[in-house]
Point group: C2
Amino acid sequence: MRASGRLVIVGLGPGEPHWLTPAARAALEGASDLIGYGPYLDRLGDLRPDQRRHASDNRVELERARHALTLAAEGRRVAVVSGGDPGVFAMAAAVFEAVEGGDPAWAGLDIHVEPGVTAMLAAAARAGAPLGGDFCAISLSDNLKPWEVLEKRLAAALSADFVICLYNPISRARPWQLGRALAIAREHRAPETPVIFARAVGRADEKLTVVPLAEAAGGLADMATLVIIGASTTRCVLRPAGERPWVYTPRSYGGGR
Amino acid sequence: MRASGRLVIVGLGPGEPHWLTPAARAALEGASDLIGYGPYLDRLGDLRPDQRRHASDNRVELERARHALTLAAEGRRVAVVSGGDPGVFAMAAAVFEAVEGGDPAWAGLDIHVEPGVTAMLAAAARAGAPLGGDFCAISLSDNLKPWEVLEKRLAAALSADFVICLYNPISRARPWQLGRALAIAREHRAPETPVIFARAVGRADEKLTVVPLAEAAGGLADMATLVIIGASTTRCVLRPAGERPWVYTPRSYGGGR
C-alpha cells in the first residue's frame, strides 16, 4: 500500500519575509519537496538537506501542478510555492485543474491551500486605502482568455464604478493591453482619477507612482507592477511638500451615511 | 515642540494567530496605544503594562479614527487594530477620511497601513481556488451606500462573469439584502453555479458550506460569513464519499489557452 502524501499550495506574500504568515512558513518547513517558479524558490534561501527543490519555468503551470500531484501520490509531502496568495491568478487553480483532468486517485489526496497577502493588498496599503470601496481584480494576461472578455469586464467594472486592480498588466508578449485598458478607463472616469502603479512592493526595488488617469500610460508598468485605477470617489489626501499623497476610497457612496 | 507620533493601521488576518504576519505582530508590539473594536483587541490577549487598550463599538469607525489621530498627534505610537486586511472594508479608509476632514496637522503624521490576509482569501483557500479567475469584492452594508448602487454593481459583475465575494452579507439591520443579491444572481447564472458560505474561517467555530446557486439562501449566512458566488466557469471537483468537493475557477476562459 502506498503512503498517503500531502500537497500544500503556499503563498509567500508580496516579497518581504515579514509578510510571510507563520502558517505558510510552517507549511514550507513541513515539506519534503518544494516546487515552483525559480525566483519564488530562491526567496526561501537554503533548504534543509532532506528537502528537494524542483524549480521550473513560470509558463508551465499545469505541468508543474501534475508533477506536484505525482510526487504527492508517491507519498511525498509537497509544497507548491507561489508568490502573493496562491488562489489569486496563481498556482492553486492550476492544481485543481490538474486534479480534475488527471489520475482519479489524485482526488483522494490531502490537498490544502495556504493563503497569503496578495499583491493588491500590499500595493493598496502602501498607497493609503484605495480599496476602501467595492473593487475588482482582473488579470490582463490574455493568453488565458480572449481580449473581448477582458474588454467586457473592464467596461462593466468601470460603468458600475468599481475600483479596478490589474494583475499581470504588461509583458513582452502583451505590450499594448494595459494602454488599451487605460484608454477604456478614460472613456468612463474623470482625467484626475488617481491611478497607482505599484512595482515590486515589499522588495528592495519597490517603486510606487501615483498619477492622474490623464497621465497614466502603459510605460509606467512592467511585469512586476500592480496597477490600481480609482473609482469616481477615490481621492488624494495632500501631505506636506515632497511627500506622496495618500490615496483612499471613502467607505460611503453617494447618498449613504 | 510636540513629539512626532506614529499611527499604524494593522490587519490581524482572518482569525488564527498563524495568519498574523510578522510585520503586523511587530507593529502591535511597537505600539503604546491599541485602538479597535473590542473583539479584535481581545484576540491580542494580554497587553504589556506599558500599553494602553482603547476598545470601542464596531459602528463608530470615524470617531475611532479621530481618537487614534489625536493620540498620534500627541506623540503616542498608535496601532488601530482591524480584522483581516485593514484596507478592505475596514479601518484604513476611515482613518484617511478623518485625516482629510480633520486637523490639518494630521496630514503631517507618520501613517502606515500594514496589510493582512483578507477574509475572501482565507475562505477561498479553504474551498479550493474559486478566485482563480477575475473576481470582485462587494460589501453588502448599505448603510454606507444606496441599495441601487449595490444592485447595479451586482448586475454588472454578473453580466461580465466575475466571481463575486460578498462581505458583510447580513445583519439584524440588513436582513433581506443577501437574499435579494442571490435572487439577482439566479437571473444571470445557472442553478448549479457553486456558492460558498464561509463562516468564521480560521476560528474555532469555522463552518464552510458549498451549495448550488438554486439552493443558496440568506439563512445560510450570518454576520461572520463571507459569501462567494462562482462565475459561469467555476466548477466542483468531486472527492471520495463524505468529503466536501473542491471548488475552483479555471484560469482559462472560453477560447483561451
